[in-house]
Symmetry: C2
Subunit: 234 residues, 2 copies
């Protein structure tokens, strides 16, 4: 048989290829992603995949897009679950989802934030908007917290470099919802912190040093929120 039963079966096949690809990566690591392996698992031949993804790169790009959306979905779920909680609880939940999703889906996280297939880099015009998606709600919490006066930017973070402030103001106006540059700097600082800890955890660099990455992560987030006066010392 050559043509499948259904009508729009082509899309189903494309989706199944992605599914199998992700399974293969989970099983055999990022290196285990081979067209022939996917094909054998699906009971077809490797060149057949070219009907759906002209190149291996295109398949990887599709996987990256899915990974971005999955991460965004995980953080979104955390946001809605705590939508009626305190600012601190909401940020803790969203930022906790960031790490948890990374730990549970290390391959997909590396796909987004690592060097998944060296020599390949996802098209920026596609990933740049996707990269912002997971953080939309998180930034809204920050803005809300600042507008109500709950969030105080620490003195040491108040003078953002001019080059950065101008850049932020620039695309803040472009997007339409401008964010105060110092607040934005504070957000990026927070992003850098949690991202660093997550990356060091995924590459097994921090575990031998501090023993309990999860506990340290909470400790760091709590300290951060305390400094913003969103959380009081226990």
């Amino acid at each position: 048989m050559s043509r499948p039963k259904g009508k729009h079966n082509g899309q189903d096949t494309a989706r199944k290829i992605k599914t199998v690809a992700r399974q293969q990566m989970e099983k055999y690591g990022t290196a285990g992603l081979t067209l022939r392996g996917i094909a054998k698992e699906m009971g077809i031949t490797a060149p057949a995949i070219y009907n759906y993804y002209p190149r291996l790169e295109d398949l990887i790009t599709a996987l990256i897009v899915d990974a971005f959306n999955a991460l965004a979905e995980a953080m979104h779920a955390a946001a809605v679950e705590t939508s009626h909680s305190s600012y601190a609880a909401r940020i803790q939940a969203i930022v906790g989802a960031y790490r948890q999703w990374a730990v549970e889906n290390p391959v997909d996280f590396q796909l987004i934030y690592g060097n998944p297939i060296p020599g390949y880099s996802a098209p920026a015009e596609l990933t740049t908007p996707l990269a912002r998606k997971p953080f939309i709600e998180l930034m809204q919490v920050y803005v809300e917290a600042m507008n109500t006066g709950a969030l105080h930017i620490p003195t040491e973070y108040q003078d953002l470099p001019d080059s950065v402030a101008q850049y932020i103001d620039g695309w803040g106006q472009r997007v339409g919802t401008p964010i105060p540059a110092p607040l934005f700097g504070q957000i990026i600082s927070g992003w850098g912190r949690i991202h660093g800890l997550v990356m060091l955890e995924l590459t097994h660099h921090i575990q031998p040093v501090i023993g309990d990455p999860a506990a340290f992560y909470s400790y760091e987030v709590n300290a951060y929120l305390q400094r913003l006066e969103l959380l009081s010392p226990k």
Copy 2:
């Protein structure tokens, strides 16, 4: 000719293989590292390399070891250059060397802290001691600054989780030079911050967001040092 001229020429060849390997990675990315490519560049055949590195993994391991030492050397140089400066200046220099080396040698940095060749992971018993090497002098500066009373651990960082504190005390005693757990937590927090920013810069995730990664990096480090009261607000 089969055997080269010199006596210990085998080591020279092994070193040259590493050099060419690094050149190939710089040229064609981490994916461009192929035994056949190295061999062709050197005017020999691929199997000849097996006389020096039984497997490709062994070559990569050697490259990682070199990378660790190079990073340590860069940070060491920064430390000695500022050995008579203030604590803040010394930390700024060492931590600045961390980023600068990463930016100038992105492939080597990925070799250490990334997923260089998927499916391969460096032997932990070899890399764990090496991983500490770059930070030895940095930690000494912290300890010195704390002993003289110049460094103050912020309130929000004072209660380290028990699991982490116990772990740190455990291997602090093992190594011989115990470090106060809260100080250590503070150091790791700093490491996480700079590492996160560097990783986000290398994967091109932060540049489209803040425009000037170098400036933001200094901003973050300064804020960190101010919070430790090692630097006064300008």
